[in-house]
Structures are given as structure tokens and as C-alpha cells.
């Protein structure tokens, strides 16, 4: 008996997006990446733009995103995805061009590329996963690591005298004239997932409507790096990350603002 025999079409209320490959993800249980990947897949399918999408993967945990979504991809050097996206959009203006980047990639090594892409204003989308830590290399301090937060390279907690302050880069990006939509979302509850999906959809629509740069920050969990269970990680994120990185739209020059 196949799944199609069990679930009759009229009873189907939910299914995996077609462009999500049947490949086990390497992400840790409870990690936000898998949910965000699925949202991107759903939005691309619902918009009917799979054949016109070029994604750019970062260096970091999401480096293998190209294994999970069945679209054309380019894999960037660490931090350089926005520069690549700008060139691709200039050369192929009718494509939906997006980058998928973590906090180290976007806000440390790639800060220059991020700022200048956002200032130049080409219609690209940046999906920014902010979990305040370097996941893939084993939990080192990120630019967005909170004050006092422990990581492998600030084992006694981030000391601002030693390490500077958490970089709220999305707040900077909203000030740049090239961005049209800057929002901060999360995917830790069903309601949050629905809002994040709307934000991604809006960002992708801006992309095709040539409105400018859209930045969707997803404040995310890193259970392994934070050394917390998925459930505890969600609680810790609400209590600690959200006060520093409050959710909601930071900028929307395209029309209706969605959430506060």
C-alpha cells in the first residue's frame, strides 16, 4: 500500500514541497535551518518560480542547502554571497536571486559585501539565519553572540571589553537606501512559522518586482552550540535573543507593513 492509497486527495491537508529532496538533513534535531528551508521551498512552489530561481549557499551549517532544495544553486566563498547575488541579478534581472547566510558569514567575514549589496539596491533577497554562534565549526563566538553568552572562543561569556558588542547588523541594513524590506522573524512556534513564511513570500515578490534588497532575518536556535535541548533552546531564545533582536518589520517601503 502506498502513501497515495492511504491518503486520498480530498483528505490531503499537508504535504512536503516537491522540491524538498528525500535526503536526510545533516542539521541537528531542533535546529531552525530545516524549517526555513521548507518555508523557502513552499514559497517558491506557491509562487510558481522554481524554474526561475538561483540560490546562493554560504559557508557555514547551510553550506549543503543545495542538497536539500531541488533548484539551481551556486556555493559561495565565506561571506561573498551578496556580491555574487548582485552580479547574477545584473546579468539575469528576471531571475529570483537569493542568498542564504548565517551570522558569521553575513555579519563578520562578509560585512563589506552585505553592506554594499544592501546599499547598491539590486533586487536580491537575503535570508539571514541569526543564532548567535558559529555552528559548523563547533560553536565559536559570532558577531551576534550576546553579551555574557558562552561559546568555544568566549568560554567565560562574551566580554564586550575583549570582544566588542553584539552586532545588530539588520538595524544597520534598514538605514541603507538600497533596502526596501527588512524584517526579523523566528520559526519557534507555529504562529511564528506562518509569519516567517509571509515575510519570505514578500521578500521574494519584491525580488521579482525589482523593488530593491529584501532582508529576512530569522532569529534561530542552535541546540548543539548552545548546549540546550530543542525545547530549552526555544525558551532560551525567547528570554535572551528576542530582547536583543526584537521580532517584527524594521523597514518596509513597499506598502503594507505586516507585523510589529
Amino acid at each position: 500500500m502506498t502513501i497515495e492509497d492511504i491518503i486520498k486527495p480530498e483528505n490531503l491537508v499537508y504535504k512536503k514541497p516537491d522540491i524538498m529532496n528525500d535526503r536526510p538533513m545533516h542539521y541537528c534535531p531542533g535546529c531552525s535551518h530545516g524549517v526555513v528551508h521548507k518555508l523557502i521551498a513552499e514559497v517558491l512552489e506557491e509562487m510558481g518560480v522554481v524554474e526561475d530561481t538561483i540560490g546562493i549557499t554560504p559557508v557555514g551549517c547551510a553550506v549543503f542547502a543545495y542538497n536539500y532544495l531541488d533548484i539551481d544553486w551556486e556555493e559561495a566563498a565565506h561571506g561573498r554571497a551578496p556580491a555574487m547575488a548582485v552580479a547574477i541579478k545584473r546579468l539575469r534581472p528576471n531571475k529570483l536571486v537569493f542568498t542564504y547566510q548565517g551570522d558569521g558569514d553575513l555579519a563578520a567575514i562578509g560585512t563589506a559585501e552585505t553592506i554594499h549589496a544592501c546599499n547598491r539596491g539590486d533586487s536580491i533577497t537575503i535570508i539571514f539565519i541569526n543564532n548567535g554562534i558559529y555552528g559548523m565549526t563547533g560553536g565559536q563566538m559570532a558577531p551576534t553572540t550576546l553579551e555574557g553568552m558562552k561559546t568555544a572562543t568566549c568560554p567565560y561569556g562574551r566580554n564586550t571589553k575583549l570582544n566588542g558588542y553584539p552586532l545588530k547588523i539588520t538595524n544597520l541594513l534598514k538605514e541603507l537606501d538600497g533596502t526596501c524590506y527588512v524584517t526579523r522573524q523566528s520559526v519557534h512556534t507555529a504562529a511564528a512559522v506562518r509569519k516567517a513564511k509571509k515575510a519570505i513570500r514578500k521578500a521574494f515578490e519584491n525580488n521579482l518586482n525589482q523593488k530593491g534588497v529584501s532582508v529576512v532575518e530569522i532569529v534561530s536556535t542552535c541546540n548543539s552550540g548552545w548546549k540546550l535541548t530543542p525545547e530549552k533552546a526555544n525558551e532560551w531564545m525567547e528570554q535572551n535573543m528576542f530582547p536583543a533582536y526584537p521580532l517584527g518589520d524594521l523597514k518596509d517601503t513597499t506598502g503594507d507593513s505586516q507585523t510589529k
Binding site: 530561481t53 549557499t57 539551481d72 544553486w73 551556486e74 552580479a87 531571475k95 559585501e113
Partner: protein, 359 residues
């Protein structure tokens, strides 16, 4: 119709040739002595005619990654810079080689190390032909010796880059970039349509169609067995290029008893030195590598059976001389003559060096 002869700088010739050979995009950052490439393109505004994009990037790093991004979609794209800027591009160049992307880099060399000098030099030979970036890779390296070759090599470099899915580099120097000469520009060739690109580059990331697997432009592979095979594939490709794409020029070599080996602007000066030396009764010839990689190893080895000795004339402290010595494998004496710091030798200085070092 008669040929249209123009007078221009080598850097300007690069810009004109890029537009004419159907280039889709240029991404660069100003640096002396190559800024005229970007300036010329911005003045011509080719996006209004051929549709070619031109963008001044925020850094050389961004520029080479723009090239990487564009090349990954099958477009014909280039960047240009000078030595310190090309050092910054090495990360991206290694990624281009690893992901097997066709693209063109132009290096109008200046003296180093560090910030060095804005005067001409050929001290980036090692960087160009021995790696520069990380990993086992090769660039197809063309060394122009005239403004005409600056123009001609743009199209040639792109042809080779696309033929082998490999980045190519034009290694010029401040002399060739800045000097004005007459040049016949190549004829206009239309940019390829998106359909033509998809046919020529079925690997390109252009948006996944239902009838094919997704295209992923990447140099990453964590399975050692697969990664070794990828590396072996690259090495096999490099061997094919070495067998088929060596280019060099010989000048008065038939009866030569001594041989100059020189590329780029040095070869131009050596040509004069050959003439002056022959007027003194010294039978010397010049072998000019046009491709620095693949290097004309066999051609040079052949002359080891004919000449008494060789002099590698380079505007550096002795780089190409190592490859010449490898080629002759101890059969004849090979010495180096160079000037550093942006000083360019005269033909007479080269003859004096020949007499002192190899006669």
C-alpha cells in the same frame, strides 16, 4: 573595407576588446596602473549598446566573487586589477578553478611586495603560474607583448576558458597597460542569447528546468574518494591543456648560439637587444612564451641541444628562470637578468648582462 587602425593604451584595448568579443559583464575596482580598463568601459557605457554590464565593486574581493557568480550562470565575465588587487582576488580565483568556471582575470602587474610601487614589474609570474590561491589548480595564462595582443588575447582567453571550463588570466605589466600603440580592434561579435548559453553551458545555474537535474556550482566535496577523483579530473584536464595549448614565438632562433627567454614587455626589449647583439656579431635569438601556463617546456628543451646558454630576462628577481632550468634539465647554463622596483632595462643592459652571465 579597410582595417580600422586606432591608437590607444593597452588598458583601453582590453576594454574595447571585451565589449567587442560579446562580453556580458565586467566587475572591477580601481588600482594603478590598470584603472583605464574600468574608466574606458564607464565612458563607453556598453550596456546601452551590446547590453554588457559594467560594475565598480566595493573591493577586488567583491569583484572576483561577482565574476564567480556571473560565470556560474554561464555568462562571459571578466575582472581586471594590478598586483596587490590580484592578491586579494586569489581566494575567488581558487574557487573559480575548483568549480571549473570559465572567466577572465587581467593582471596589469606593478612592483611589489606589499603596496610596492605603481611602476611596471613582472614579479607575479610565480603567483600566476604556480597557484597563487590555495589548492592544486592551474590558470591558462597569456602574456601579451603589445597593445595589439592586449586586444587579441581577450577573445582568445575567453575561447580557451570556455573550451576547458577553466579560468584564464592575461598577465600584462604596467608597460603594456600604459603604452600607446596602434591597434586593430577585433570585429564585433554579438553576446550569446540565454538559449545559446544554456546549450553551450548545460552545467550553468540558470534556474532548474523540469527535464534536468539541478545544477550546483561548487568546489566543495567532503567524501575523500569523490574529492580525489575531482582533483584527478582537474589534473587530466590540465594535462590536455598542456598538450594542446602551448603558444610561443621565436625570433632569430634558427642559427642562434645563445637564447634569450622573455615574456611581455621584456620580450619587446629583448627583440631590440637581439638586433643590436647581432650587429656586434653575436648570434642570439629570442624565445617568447605567449602562454606562461602551459609553459613552452618542449620548445625550450629543444634549444638546449642547439644553443650554448640561455638568459631569462624578467622584470623580477628570477622567477621564470626556474621553469627554463626545469625544461633544459641541466643541459646548458641558464642565468637570470632582471631589474626590480619598477626600473625597466635597456637593450644595451641586456647585452651587457648576456656577456657577463652566459658568454
Amino acid at each position: 573595407m579597410s582595417e580600422e587602425i586606432k591608437l590607444m593604451k593597452g588598458n583601453e584595448a582590453i576594454a574595447h576588446a571585451a565589449i567587442r568579443c560579446g562580453c556580458d559583464g565586467y566587475f572591477g575596482y580601481p588600482i594603478t596602473p590598470q584603472s583605464e580598463v574600468l574608466e574606458t568601459l564607464m565612458e563607453i557605457e556598453p550596456w546601452k549598446t551590446t547590453g554588457m554590464n559594467v560594475l565598480q565593486a566595493e573591493s577586488e574581493i567583491a569583484a572576483i566573487n561577482m565574476v564567480y557568480g556571473g560565470a556560474g550562470t554561464g555568462k562571459k565575465v571578466l575582472t581586471s586589477s594590478s598586483s596587490p588587487g590580484v592578491s586579494l582576488k586569489q581566494e575567488g580565483i581558487s574557487y573559480l578553478a575548483g568549480a571549473e568556471l570559465p572567466a577572465l582575470i587581467v593582471n596589469v602587474m606593478r612592483g611589489g611586495p606589499g603596496l610596492g610601487t605603481i611602476q611596471p614589474s613582472q614579479a607575479d609570474y610565480f603567483q600566476t603560474v604556480k597557484g597563487g590561491g590555495h589548492g592544486d589548480y592551474r590558470l591558462i595564462a597569456l602574456a601579451p607583448a603589445s597593445v595589439q595582443e592586449m586586444a587579441d588575447f581577450v577573445g582568445l582567453a575567453f575561447d580557451l576558458a570556455f573550451k576547458y571550463r577553466n579560468p584564464a588570466i592575461i598577465l600584462a605589466d604596467g608597460v603594456i597597460g600604459q603604452m600607446m600603440e596602434k591597434v586593430v580592434l577585433p570585429p564585433f561579435k554579438p553576446r550569446r542569447t540565454d538559449e545559446e548559453i544554456e546549450k553551450e553551458c548545460p552545467w550553468a545555474a540558470v534556474g532548474k528546468k523540469k527535464n534536468r537535474e539541478r545544477n550546483v556550482i561548487t568546489s566543495l566535496e567532503l567524501d575523500p574518494a569523490v574529492m580525489e577523483e575531482r582533483n584527478n579530473h582537474l589534473q587530466r584536464k590540465y594535462k590536455t591543456i598542456e598538450e594542446n595549448e602551448v603558444r610561443y614565438e621565436e625570433y632569430m632562433c634558427e642559427d642562434a648560439e645563445y637564447l634569450f627567454v622573455a615574456f611581455g614587455s621584456s620580450a619587446r626589449i629583448c627583440q631590440k637587444a637581439v638586433e643590436l647583439a647581432r650587429a656586434q656579431g653575436i648570434k642570439v635569438g629570442l624565445l617568447r612564451p605567449i602562454t606562461l601556463w602551459p609553459f613552452p617546456t618542449k620548445a625550450i628543451a629543444k634549444y638546449a641541444d642547439q644553443v650554448k646558454s640561455m638568459l631569462s630576462v624578467e622584470l623580477n628577481a628570477g622567477q621564470m628562470v626556474e621553469d627554463i632550468r626545469l625544461a633544459v634539465n641541466g643541459k646548458v647554463k641558464v642565468e637570470h637578468f632582471g631589474r626590480l622596483g619598477g626600473i625597466v632595462y635597456t637593450p644595451d643592459e641586456i647585452i651587457e648582462a648576456m656577456k657577463a652571465k652566459i658568454m
